[in-house]
């Protein structure tokens, strides 16, 4: 049986009395690719922010590789959780070059210069952006910025990589290219998206979320062909033809 990389147990969270996450539970296998699909405003990003430690849930607990990072009054800071995140708007630091964007986290963690350089060079080569190392993020195209964000997130070898609508501004070819790159990573990936086609493309396990609840999880084919609720049935209609083909 595969080991569990991320275990979310009965997470509940509310903003100003409005419940955005209602007893959400989820288990992610090590090195698996899990896609959480749901309409805008269903609580996907809040869930990611809670997993990463940027927000604290009202109730529930989270384990990253059998280590409790949240719950029972304890809360581990984001940098000690072993998770990394790619934000929807990427959040590349505008005052630092591509190289410095990737280097800063390594530096802060006390990694020596020679090792830092090797890690960064390796990442830049792997994602084909070594030419832009000394450029500032705003001078790059969206696709190149996306790769920089990916390099930055992977520099510290996170156990779990969280992706918040990472492909929303990309064209189809670039999406495919990045999905392949991410699939080849040695990390557990949790991606949230509202785009059904993105979810299908990633393969892996699929979860459907609505109104702060996870309605169904399973393989793509399973969820699309055997919807558990009326909402899932309606929401995945665009995929049905593609799965059957």
């Amino acid at each position: 049986m595969p080991a569990t990389a991320l275990n979310i147990d009965h997470i509940t969270h509310a903003y100003n009395g409005n419940t955005v996450l209602d007893r959400v539970s989820l288990k992610l296998d090590t090195n698996g690719f899990f896609t959480l699909l749901g309409p805008s405003g269903c609580g996907k990003t809040t869930l990611l922010r809670i997993i990463s430690g940027l927000e604290t849930p009202d109730e529930g607990s989270i384990w990253v590789e059998n280590r409790q990072v949240c719950g029972n009054g304890s809360r581990v800071s984001p940098r000690e959780r072993g998770v990394s995140m790619i934000f929807q708007r990427l959040a590349l630091w505008p005052h630092l070059t591509v190289y410095e964007n990737i280097e800063l986290g390594l530096k802060a963690n006390g990694i020596p210069h020679s090792k830092r350089k090797a890690v960064i060079d390796n990442l830049l080569e792997r994602f084909f952006i070594h030419r832009y190392a000394m450029r500032f993020p705003h001078t790059l195209s969206v696709g190149e910025q996306q790769r920089v964000a990916l390099c930055r997130a992977l520099a510290l070898k996170p156990r779990v990589l969280l992706l918040d609508e990472p492909f929303s501004h990309l064209d189809w070819m670039l999406k495919e290219e990045l999905i392949e790159l991410i699939k080849g990573l040695d990390a557990t990936v949790l991606m949230v998206t509202h785009d059904q086609m993105d979810a299908l493309k990633t393969g892996g396990t699929l979860g459907i979320m609505n109104d702060g609840k996870i309605l169904q999880t399973g393989s793509c084919r399973e969820v699309v062909t055997q919807p558990a609720t009326e909402f899932v049935d309606d929401y995945l209609k665009p995929l049905r033809g593609l799965i059957n083909r």
């Binding site: 940027l54 940098r79 505008p94 005052h95 195209s141 990309l170």
Partner: protein, 560 residues
């Protein structure tokens, strides 16, 4: 009914060029051209007029020893010292308050900006006289200390160049305060959040949050330094011999315009250096923003602690309210206030109308210039950008002398002898700052908006009226308010160029400070503060109606 297939097509769709479509092509370049010419006449013209003639150069060379040596160096160092101290004091007061206010919507949050605009509404010379009366030798506070603690504080600490710097810093602290608020609004909280995955909160603050605020902080420091260094009124009141005071004396008292011009050269050099430095510090990044970023996590964690928050707010509040309370106490009664209004009714009205209309014209001009600078790459080049900002780095006294040379000619005598000359002086000094603020605001309006409108067939005038103006209205209000505040209290240059019989309120006030009764001066001071703050209050109310547009797409270049 119109047959959609066979209906005649619009001329613009068929590519047929009418005189209208041909003329529409020139709307943008002609408007920008006129604005640039106006700017050159108003702000660059006085600098060119300052260049001495051949005879002037000969005269300067003959008396060279008067303009080089220890004395001029001392004047220069005094000015730099005043500027430096004022920048330190202003940053020390403004930055912490900005960090606290910019983080959270507080109760009466619309009134906080008005309260902290107030120090800018108090003319520095008036603030200086209040602080001297409160804390100087035989002042109210030292007397209280002597009576209560039987302790003599000794020499007055508000004297010399350091005293001038402290007073000016206390007057100008809203500049860093508002620039920090603006910097916080422009920040994306995700930048900090991304850092938290690999860094401690302290490292995040040091490496991400504060460096992102650095352009705002350095710009604020430099602007206050320049305003402190070029200020005439406070050093002159405290008897500090700075270069600005000496230039004024040479021109106005010794009647030696060549000497004044000779002393202007080091000021031009420092001004030029400052303009280049400002350009280098900010590059093309905006230091003024009305965008609404979220509250930044780490700055909030460190700076919203009560131990920091309470002094950060209460000290500026005390510094803001002390001069106003002193003036109110000194005025004594409403009757005295009425008497003061009666005496200078004409000056009050004239100053108000002139400042309001003058700053309106200057702000409109600044908006077109700001648009031009942001949209036309060749106007953003380093040296041109520095040249555009240079007049702001010079004392208004110096610009006043240049304006006299430029406009005191027979063909332009009608301008020189009217109140328009005062507006020209204000323009020369503050148009560079206004156009910079406007350019920063324009930066936040994506060019795609214009492109889309243009593709929809709108002419440039239409785009300006229907797209650019509604989006730039909040920024325009800020530019107008800034220009109005600085214009209405301008003194040094106004003293030189003012036409006979057209004295403004600051000139009357400054003269009365030398020979008027203290209650009258206090009443006039209160009146002056009221006149400056009233439009700000109206703006605060209006600002709740005209909200800045939300932050739109990031200015990202897509090469895909």
């Amino acid at each position: 009914m119109i047959d959609p297939v066979n209906a005649p097509r619009q001329p613009s769709c068929t590519g047929e060029k009418t005189w209208f479509t041909r003329a529409a092509r020139y709307q943008q370049p002609v408007t920008i051209g006129i604005a640039v010419i106006c700017f050159c006449i108003i702000a660059i013209g006085p600098l060119i007029a300052l260049m001495p003639s051949t005879a002037g150069i000969h005269d300067i060379l003959c008396r060279w020893d008067r303009f080089v040596g220890i004395k001029p160096l001392t004047f220069m160092l005094n000015g730099v010292g005043v500027g430096f101290i004022s920048a330190v004091v202003a940053l020390g007061l403004g930055v912490p308050a900005g960090l606290v206010i910019g983080q959270k919507a507080r109760p009466f949050h619309a009134l906080w900006p008005v309260l902290f605009f107030l120090p800018l509404a108090i003319p520095p010379y008036l603030a200086a006289s209040c602080w001297i009366a409160l804390t100087g030798r035989n002042g109210i506070l030292p007397d209280m200390v002597v009576h209560l603690l039987s302790f003599d504080p000794g020499a007055p600490w508000l004297s010399g160049w350091s005293g001038s710097g402290i007073i000016l810093g206390a007057c100008y602290f809203p500049i860093p305060l508002f620039l920090v608020i603006s910097g916080l609004k422009a920040q994306d909280p995700a930048h900090e959040e991304a850092a938290l995955f690999s860094m401690t909160p302290w490292q995040t603050l040091r490496k991400i949050s504060l460096p992102l605020l650095l352009p705002h902080l350095s710009t604020a420091g430099l602007i206050v330094f320049l305003m402190g260094m070029t200020n005439y009124s406070v050093p002159s009141l405290l008897g500090v011999r700075t270069m600005t005071v000496k230039i004024f004396s040479f021109f106005s008292i010794y009647k030696d315009p060549t000497g004044a011009t000779a002393l202007a050269f080091p000021m031009l050099a420092i001004g030029g250096l400052s303009a280049v430095l400002l350009h280098r510090l900010t590059r093309n990044r905006a230091f003024f923003s009305l965008d609404r970023g979220g509250p930044t996590v780490e700055i909030a964690r460190f700076f919203l602690h009560p131990a920091f928050r309470i002094p950060a707010i209460s000290i500026p509040v005390v510094i803001t309210s002390a001069p106003v309370l002193y003036l109110t106490w000194k005025t004594g009664s409403l009757q005295n206030l009425g008497l003061a209004v009666q005496q200078i009714e004409h000056s009050v009205l004239k100053t108000c109308v002139l400042a309001a209309l003058g700053s309106l014209c200057l702000s409109l001009l600044a908006l077109v210039l700001g648009y031009a600078i942001d949209r036309l790459a060749h106007l953003r080049k380093g040296w041109l950008s520095a040249l555009f900002f240079l007049p702001f780095c010079l004392p208004s006294v110096l610009l006043g002398i240049g304006i006299i040379y430029q406009w005191n000619q027979l063909p332009t005598q009608w301008v020189y002898s009217s109140s328009v000359i005062i507006v020209i002086l204000w323009g020369a000094k503050y148009l560079p700052l206004a156009q910079r603020l406007a350019a920063d605001h324009m930066k936040q309006i994506p060019v795609e908006f214009e492109a889309a409108a243009s593709l929809s067939g709108l002419t440039w005038f239409n785009i300006a009226a229907r797209i650019l103006w509604p989006l730039s209205r909040p920024g325009f209000l800020v530019v107008w308010a800034t220009t109005y505040i600085f214009c209405i209290s301008e003194l040094g240059g106004t003293l030189l160029v003012i036409p006979p019989g057209a004295d403004t309120l600051p000139v009357r006030l400054f003269n009365m400070m030398h020979y008027g009764s203290s209650s009258m001066v206090a009443a006039l001071g209160l009146l002056m503060i009221g006149l400056t703050a009233l439009p700000l209050l109206l703006m605060a109310v209006y600002g709740r109606i005209v909200q800045p547009f939300p932050a739109t797409a990031q200015p990202t270049r897509n090469n895909d």
